[in-house]
């Protein structure tokens, strides 16, 4: 975020008549300022009404007991206490963190490898289309297709059973495998977006930097680890934040793929938990407390990632 750029109105308008100019200019600026407010008004009002007010209401509701019908009663931190000791919330928290910790490193790692591979190809349109198709597809369709692919009598289970000589795995019925299935679908459906972003990042690296490293005798491996990866690290950093935040919000896939919370709540995520409390059980207060906990978790993880940034992210111009 840079300082607000110097606007054109800073230099006294050239075409203004000289006598009485300061006055005319002041009037113009006053009018201009008003235009500023008019221009931001729709989005400001929208933000206030549809984000800020609900946010404040969520904070308030988190300290109350309310089912939407009977009068609201204040109960202080009880909702938070309820949630933090609720084994279901614990499951949801662990599951959500597991999904994030599995999908983000694997998903981004695969995307980097594929982006580097694609960068070397002259014609990559077809490959890009293949990787990006799942991103375009609605997560519901994605979950429905994979739900059938994970069938116990399906091709995938059969192939694994034949290759490893094990009983056909029941992906969506086994608590451990169900969470793994969610991770596989998540990685599959978000891979293309990261590939496209990393490819753009790789193409932004100036060829002279690569050339210079080559002349210094760097091989392909050294080029990757010493040049491409460090120069890609700002993009990687922001992608990892976005991927982490979005995996904390996993809902669509668990809602459809594994029939709600899965066997033994094995795929209950925090957002599913909030949805269940709020719209399934109309416990608006407890659900709001869970929402606030989700927000705190999001902020803490983002802060931790920013802490890591200092050590691992290199900015090309920072060295100069």
């Amino acid at each position: 975020m840079t300082a607000p750029s110097v606007s054109v109105t800073d230099s006294p308008a050239v075409g203004m008549p000289s006598p009485g100019a300061p006055r005319a200019e002041a009037a113009w600026r006053r009018r201009d300022r008003r235009w500023g407010y008019v221009f931001v008004a729709p989005q400001m009002i929208g933000m206030a009404l549809f984000v800020l007010v609900p946010f404040i209401a969520a904070v308030v509701l988190a300290f109350a007991q309310w089912d939407g019908l009977t009068p609201l009663t204040w109960i202080g931190f009880d909702n938070f206490r309820t949630e933090l000791t609720d084994p279901l919330f614990g499951r949801a928290l662990i599951n959500t963190m597991l999904i994030a910790l599995i999908t983000v490193p694997i998903g981004l790692g695969l995307a980097v490898v594929i982006a580097v591979a694609l960068e070397r190809l002259k014609t990559r349109t077809l490959y890009l289309a293949l990787f990006f198709a799942p991103v375009i597809t609605s997560s519901i369709a994605v979950a429905m297709i994979w739900q059938q692919l994970f069938r116990k009598d399906g091709v995938l289970s059969h192939a694994i059973a034949t290759i490893f000589h094990v009983p056909a795995p029941d992906w969506l019925g086994d608590p451990h495998l169900a969470l793994l299935a969610v991770c596989i679908v998540t990685i599959w459906s978000s891979l293309g977006l990261n590939v496209v972003i990393f490819l753009a990042g790789l193409q932004n690296i100036s060829p002279s930097v690569i050339e210079a490293a080559r002349i210094d005798g760097a091989g392909a491996i050294a080029l990757f680890f010493r040049v491409r990866l460090p120069l890609l690290s700002p993009v990687l950093f922001f992608s990892s934040i976005i991927a982490f935040i979005s995996s904390l919000q996993t809902f669509d896939i668990v809602f459809v793929l594994v029939a709600n919370a899965g066997p033994d709540n094995a795929t209950r995520t925090i957002v599913y938990h909030i949805y269940d409390l709020g719209f399934g059980k109309t416990q608006f207060g407890v659900a709001s407390a869970a929402s606030i906990l989700l927000l705190i978790l999001t902020l803490v993880i983002t802060a931790i990632q920013f802490g890591f940034q200092k050590r691992f992210v290199h900015y090309e111009d920072a060295a100069a």
């Binding site: 990787f131 519901i140 297709i145 972003i197």
Partner: protein, 314 residues
Amino acid sequence: MRAATPRLTDGTTKPPTESTVAIAAPGRRIRPHARPGRSRRRVAATTLHIVLIVAGIAMVYPFVWMIVTAFKGLPQLLNDPLSFWPSPWAPQNFIDAWNDAPFGQAYVNSIYIAILVVIGTLITASMAGYAFARIKFRGSRAMFVMFLATQMIPMQVTLIPFYLLMAKLGWVDSHLSLIIPAALANPFAVFLMRQFVLSLPKELEEAALVDGAGRWRIFWSIVLPNLRPGLGALSIIVALGTWNNFLLPLVMLNSQNLFTVPLLLQSFQGQFGSINYGLIMAASAVATIPMLIAFVIGQRQILNSMAASGLGGR
């Protein structure tokens, strides 16, 4: 897949060596320093193609499977679940899926919601982005910081109060709850448009300012036309996000004739269980294939917009 196969043979039998490339492409410099051996690079090129082909098949297999399964009849699904090709090819599933649920209506709903959200967002976000980039007014910095801060609040956190607010406004089970808030509260769009305005040369507006044109005139007839690439990218991002949104329609809509495509698809699955999954796959195909066709047509623009949004967010 057509282009992938010859590439494999390319990679294994005759990889384009550095020297042939250099001769073929005159613009390319021939590097004087030592290069890794020919065979090592051949191995590298082959590995690269194998990785890409395996990954490519993994990406496309679920879609291919969806389509072939959609053509399988119930007897085949029950008796021979491992067979890949339908025998016989039975288009009946598509007909049943289309008749059993109002997919046509859902498409109309999804399309017009997406169009209204895109138009609304383009207008309001470019106005705000322009003001934040170019107009000096008291509190603009604070407001902009507030915009960035609200972007940190996930929509899931405010979902319940948002639902209660929509209920108060009478917008539950109405498309208004999906259109108005989305068009009026999109901090990312404001941020993106501000970045695009900042990248325009100020000289564009200067002459008009000197001639005494008002801000509205300048915005409408000078800035907006020059923002076209940014507006294009934003419309693709917003349209995709709106089209694929599931949680909000799920919470807001009750009447089936108001359902969007993902919501109808999900309710369709709930209704028909998982025995006749050929029917479920036909419904998925009906919901997916028009999007995939649209993607193939607009591929370049879509990929560029996504790349720009991922990097432009910095």
